[in-house]
């Protein structure tokens, strides 16, 4: 297991080294160096897929280095079924993000690509950290490059969007920091061992019982803003619209998952008593379902394509929240699958939005129309990706939504039925957009000369489409790797019988 002993350290260190290489390379070569760097990073992470043992919910590939041992801070990393795919999603997205920025970013390229690489480390760190202090550090680290990506390379209102993004997240994370410190000191006082280690805090979470509600509230706010849950979502449309293409892709594809990941990893396992208190549960589920419907309805009336996709994310992430709170094996597995496939599909949608923008210099949906004839490949790709976002069976979108809904029905039948109407609205907003983008009559003569997808653009989109179909048709390898961790989470809170007895609640024959 040599690989397992250094891989997580390496995955965190390598992008920083690559960022240095980018900074030292000539401006013109920056993107090539960054591409090589992100590709190597991806290839390094690929063996995780096979080396990961799906049979256990325990943390794998664990490494621990003392960092500030006097304060009980250890640089401790590990992976389980929940974080595995977040890591792979990150390393998979980054080379595509670099390729997608290829012609879009023309100024300060070195700084841009270096920031992308630093961001990679920040995001991966969040997903693999097993020490809450380390987690918090990475959580904040990833904020800074993203702030600059939006604020420097963004659109006309980039500063407003960047500051809004930063402040929203920062408010939440400050409260989370307080919560972490309280847990650290209270648990430390109770056990005599002061440590930020995840397992230590989780095992002794009973000693913070008195504060549980407020601690949960702090974590909840931090993560709910990140997800984003209704009504903490308004930073997202602005950030997405102003961010450069790759920024939007990363924001939607990976950053949003940190919120739901935070719930799965910290907020829910730490404070199940609060999280599943009937009142709290009701509030969360109502907000989740509201997000699903509200996000979809508001997406339907957006004139700006990027904003439409941004609001659709709010809708999709609502399904994840519902799945987590329904807490059945199917719903939690489904939530994790949505986290993966939303990253892929929405990432692809933002890439396509960027490609459309590069061609027409507008994101206004109404400015397009009829381009299916001139750019058939782009139109076909946009159709496939939209269908996956709509959740057509056979694509990734269906698997996650179906599992979440089928798994949530037992816990919250009415909320599930309301949430399921989201499939209708999803079709409404995406098909509306699709029609006005690529169908109807081509009335802008300049679009007659629009060029179809280039080889580079195909290189970005084809891997995403492969994943869309792969997860749609054969999700079993993903589900198998997720199952043990999802099961452990459900059983930790619901008890062992929650996952072993077959779901069956029919009325008895009288």
């Amino acid at each position: 297991m040599i690989y397992g002993e250094w891989i997580l350290d390496l995955l965190l260190a390598f992008p920083v080294l690559a960022a240095l290489a980018v900074l030292l390379s000539p401006e013109a070569a920056a993107k090539r160096v960054a591409l090589v760097g992100t590709l190597v990073e991806f290839l390094l992470s690929v063996p995780l897929w096979w080396m990961f043992d799906p049979g256990t919910a325990a943390m794998q590939f664990q490494v621990t280095h003392p960092w500030i041992p006097g304060w009980g801070i250890m640089f401790s990393l590990g992976l389980d079924g929940i974080s595995l795919f977040m890591v792979l999603l990150t390393t998979f997205t980054m080379p595509l993000a670099v390729l997608g920025s290829w012609n879009y970013i023309k100024e300060k390229q070195r700084a841009y690509y270096a920031l992308l690489l630093v961001l990679t480390t920040g995001m991966l760190g969040v997903f693999v950290a097993l020490d809450l202090f380390v987690f918090y550090v990475f959580w904040e680290i990833m904020l800074i490059p993203m702030y600059f990506l939006i604020g420097v390379w963004g659109g006309p209102r980039r500063l407003y969007a960047a500051i809004k993004f930063f402040l929203f997240t920062f408010v939440g994370s400050l409260l989370m920091l307080v919560a972490i410190l309280v847990m650290y000191s209270v648990v430390g006082r109770a056990t005599g061992e002061y440590s930020f280690a995840y397992s230590h805090l989780l095992d002794n979470v009973g000693s913070v019982e008195r504060w549980a509600f407020w601690l949960f509230g702090a974590f909840f706010l931090a993560f709910a803003i990140k997800v984003p849950m209704f009504p903490f979502h308004t930073w997202l449309p602005d950030a997405h619209v102003e961010a450069p293409t790759a920024g939007s892709v990363i924001l939607a594809g990976i950053l949003l998952k940190m919120g739901t990941y935070g719930f799965l990893r910290f907020a829910v396992p730490f404070f199940p008593g609060v999280a599943f208190h009937p009142t709290v549960q009701t509030v969360v589920v109502v907000l989740a379902v509201t997000g699903i419907i509200y996000g979809a309805l508001v997406a339907m009336v957006q004139p700006d394509f990027k904003k439409l996709v941004a609001y659709s994310s709010i809708s999709h992430l609502g399904f994840v929240m519902l799945g987590i709170w329904a807490l059945s094996l199917q719903s939690v597995e489904g939530a994790i699958i949505i986290m993966i496939s939303h990253g892929i599909s929405t990432g692809a949608l933002f890439f396509l939005a960027g490609m459309l923008y590069e061609r027409a210099h507008t994101r206004e949906i109404a400015a397009f129309g009829g381009i299916a004839r001139v750019v058939p490949a782009l139109a076909a790709t946009l159709t496939i990706v939209s269908l996956s976002s709509i959740g057509l069976p056979g694509t990734n979108g269906f698997i996650g939504e179906f599992l979440v809904l089928v798994g949530s029905f037992g816990t919250f039948p009415w909320a599930t039925v309301v949430a399921a109407t989201g499939v209708i609205f999803a079709a409404a907003y995406l098909l509306r957009a699709l029609q006005r983008l690529i169908y109807n009559k081509l009335d802008n003569p300049e679009h007659e000369r629009m060029r179809d997808l280039s080889a580079r653009e195909l290189l970005v989109l084809v891997p995403l489409i492969v994943c869309i179909l792969w997860i749609g048709l054969y999700p079993a390898p993903f589900l198998r790797r997720v199952e043990a961790s999802a099961q452990a989470l459900v059983e930790q809170i619901r008890g062992p019988e929650a996952t072993t007895t077959p779901a069956r609640a029919a009325e008895v024959v009288r």
Binding site: F168, M300, Q435, K441, T499, P502, A506, E507
Partner: protein, 659 residues
């Protein structure tokens, strides 16, 4: 499992290969029409042959109790939920598979002629192949979710093909409308699956249907809700009240698409679903009654609209909705085999009618094109007397018309009569079935009437195309008329599949399907009609058909008809019928506009921009700035001010301390 049945995967894979090849060709060699046609038709013909082989296996070794299930791979394994990508072969799926592959092959051949000059030729065949692929998944899937893959997949292809000429905005609108309305139904299908899984712990047909009798109380809430939700899916896909309005709009697609998807196969999926889940529906008598009543109501309602349509395809569209209503009436009263029987005969004569109308439109379109006229090639007021130019098409369409009208000897007579007879038979149990029977009989009268009207206006009387155009009218090429001939034969003889009980050799299809439907017999009353009653019903059906046909023939005067551009607008009831009872307008006012208003004016502009961002987010930013501003005012640099505040503060602190 017989070895031949094991080949069933090939039936599905072949059309998919066709899709891949034609899809690729549409990008790289869009002009390779010969290759495209050869591939497009070839895969279908081969698929049909394999389907025959599979059927041979089923007939030789009929599965009894357990269907043959071919598991391909584990699709969605998540704890107690185990969904396999698996196919199920039994008598019911065999019938559907043959109908789908057989009719599809003929329609693909017809398309070679019909779409010959279309620049999107390879794309068309790619979509059509893909449609057959999904349709076969729908009928062969061994579980609700696998069926759902096909269910939504055919909806996708329907969307793509309705909007095939997407540069025409109303056409693209129609595709979108079809998809979204279908999704409303699919929502019901989804909810049904959630309920089934939580009630039975499984979603595979074999397990669910076998365990249902032990798990559900007959007529209980759970089973009733499950079946109602399933039927909601059917109303979307099979265009029943209230979700039927997408189907007439779907006529925007190329006519062979209307024949294949919107008449013969996809829209019958709902009927298939009810027949497939016959055990569940039989255990839920209330739901079954809802199915039958919805079917009867739709049959009559759509027939009234068909009476007044001028667009030849719209007549056929409403006729399809109406005929689907009959099928639901059949499966709703528990006559599952009768429903499938009508599905089969309808596939023949309605496909024939649509393709025939396609030939007519094709001919008119060419005539108008030749003379540079921009008149509607689908409006019957611009037709008339076409039998002189298109004798084959006219004759074959008359065969189909007699079949759908229910003239004795033709297939539709037997299948429609069986549904009505079964409904009548259940009248002994509850009077409501007599009402349904009367509704069905009235709809049958209207059917005979509007079909004769359509034939009369299209093929008889004077020609209203214009003299110049008349010289360009001609019969369709053989590649188009040939498939019609086969369908014509089917329209005549398909009735022998299931003859009435009073005739020799009766009920073959009924007996063939028995292993599939026998689970439901325990929950249904025995259908029994005295043979005198049955003869009387047959006689009455004949009278109804004759009355409709002769009525139209005598009362309608094609000679008085004006071309569309000269016609005076209708008024009164005629106008209401022409405008389809204003259902689209009502939906628009009651559903679509309020939702759009709510989304844009309330949620986006008020909640998001106004309250959350305006008041809370930017409001708190402004508050912070205001506080900062006040603070900054205090830092004025004037010593006097500082001293003033210092003294003031000291006094306040001292007061507080000295209390």
């Amino acid at each position: 499992m017989p070895a031949s049945v094991g080949w069933v995967w090939l039936v599905i894979v072949l059309p998919f290969l066709g899709f891949l090849v034609n899809g690729t060709l549409s990008f790289v060699r869009p002009d390779a029409k010969r290759v495209v046609s050869a591939v497009g038709v070839g895969v279908l013909a081969l698929s049909f042959v394999v389907a025959l082989v599979v059927t041979g296996g089923v007939v030789a070794h009929p599965p009894h109790g357990h269907p043959y299930v071919l598991t391909l791979w584990s699709w969605m394994p998540a704890g107690s939920l185990q969904i396999d990508a698996a196919l199920q072969v039994d008598q019911l799926s065999t019938v559907m598979m043959l109908v789908v592959t057989g009719i599809s092959t003929l329609i693909h051949i017809f398309s070679i002629g019909y779409m010959r000059e279309d620049p999107g030729y390879p794309r068309y065949f790619a979509y059509l192949n893909l449609f057959v692929f999904f349709m076969l998944i729908l009928v062969l899937g061994a579980s609700f979710p696998v069926m759902f893959v096909g269910w939504e997949g055919v909806g996708l292809c329907s969307y793509l093909l309705i909007g095939f000429w997407y540069e025409n905005k109303p056409f693209a609108d129609a595709g979108k409308k079809a998809f979204i309305m279908n999704r409303i139904g699919d929502f019901g299908f989804l909810v049904a699956m959630f309920m089934i899984f939580h009630a039975t712990g499984s979603l595979s047909f074999v397990t669910v249907f076998e365990e249902a009798p032990q798990l559900f109380a007959v007529g209980g809430t759970t089973i009733t809700l499950i079946t109602l939700a399933l039927f909601m899916g059917c109303t979307g896909k099979s265009a029943q009240i209230p979700l039927f309005t997408w189907l007439p709009d779907a006529m925007a697609g190329p006519t062979p698409v209307s024949a294949l998807i919107h008449a013969a196969t996809m829209v019958t999926a709902g009927v298939y679903l009810v027949a497939r889940a016959n055990v569940l529906f039989a255990m839920a008598p209330v739901s079954s009654l809802v199915v039958a009543a919805t079917g009867a109501a739709t049959a009559l309602f759509a027939a009234t609209i068909a009476v007044k349509q001028w667009d030849i395809k719209k007549v056929l569209a409403y006729s399809t909705i109406s005929q689907l209503g009959y099928m639901f009436m059949g499966v709703g009263v528990g006559a599952y085999a009768a429903g499938i029987f009508h599905l089969t005969t309808h596939a023949f004569f309605k496909a024939l009618l649509f393709l025939g109308s396609g030939s007519v439109i094709h001919a008119l379109h060419h005539a108008f094109h030749a003379t540079h006229r921009h008149d509607d090639a689908q409006d019957m007021r611009n037709m008339g007397g076409l039998r002189r130019y298109m004798p084959w098409t006219a004759a074959l369409m008359w065969i189909a018309t007699l079949a759908i009208a229910g003239v004795p000897g033709f297939s539709g007579f037997f299948s429609k009569d069986e549904i009505l007879a079964m409904t009548f038979a259940r009248g002994q149990e509850a009077g409501v079935f007599y009402v349904l029977w009367i509704v069905g009989a009235v709809a049958a009268l209207l059917t005979a009437f509007y079909m004769t009207r359509m034939m009369l206006y299209t093929f008889h009387g004077p020609t209203r195309t214009g003299e110049e155009e008349e010289r360009h009218l001609h019969e369709a090429p053989w590649v188009m008329t040939g498939p019609l001939l086969f369908l014509g034969i089917g329209s005549v003889v398909a009735g022998v599949l299931n003859l009435p009980a009073v005739l020799p050799g009766s009920g073959w299809l009924h007996h063939f399907l028995e292993p599939v439907t026998e689970g439901s017999t325990a929950y249904l009353p025995e259908f029994h009609l005295a043979s005198a009653t049955e003869w009387a019903l047959l006689g009455l059906a004949t009278l109804i058909a004759a009355a409709g046909i002769l009525g139209a023939w005598n009362f309608l005067k094609p000679a008085l008809l004006q071309p569309a551009s000269l016609a005076t607008p209708e008024s009164g009831l005629q106008r209401i019928l022409l405008r389809k009872w204003y259902v689209d307008e009502i939906y628009d006012a009651l559903v679509i506009r309020p939702i759009m208003w709510l989304s844009e004016r309330t949620f986006w502009k008020v909640v998001d921009v106004g309250v959350i961002d305006g008041v809370l987010v930017n409001g708190s930013a402004k508050t912070a700035r205001a506080v900062g501003w006040i603070g900054s005012r205090l830092q004025s640099g004037r010593v006097a001010t500082y001293v003033f505040f210092f003294v003031l503060g000291s006094i306040l602190v001292l007061r507080a301390l000295l209390r």
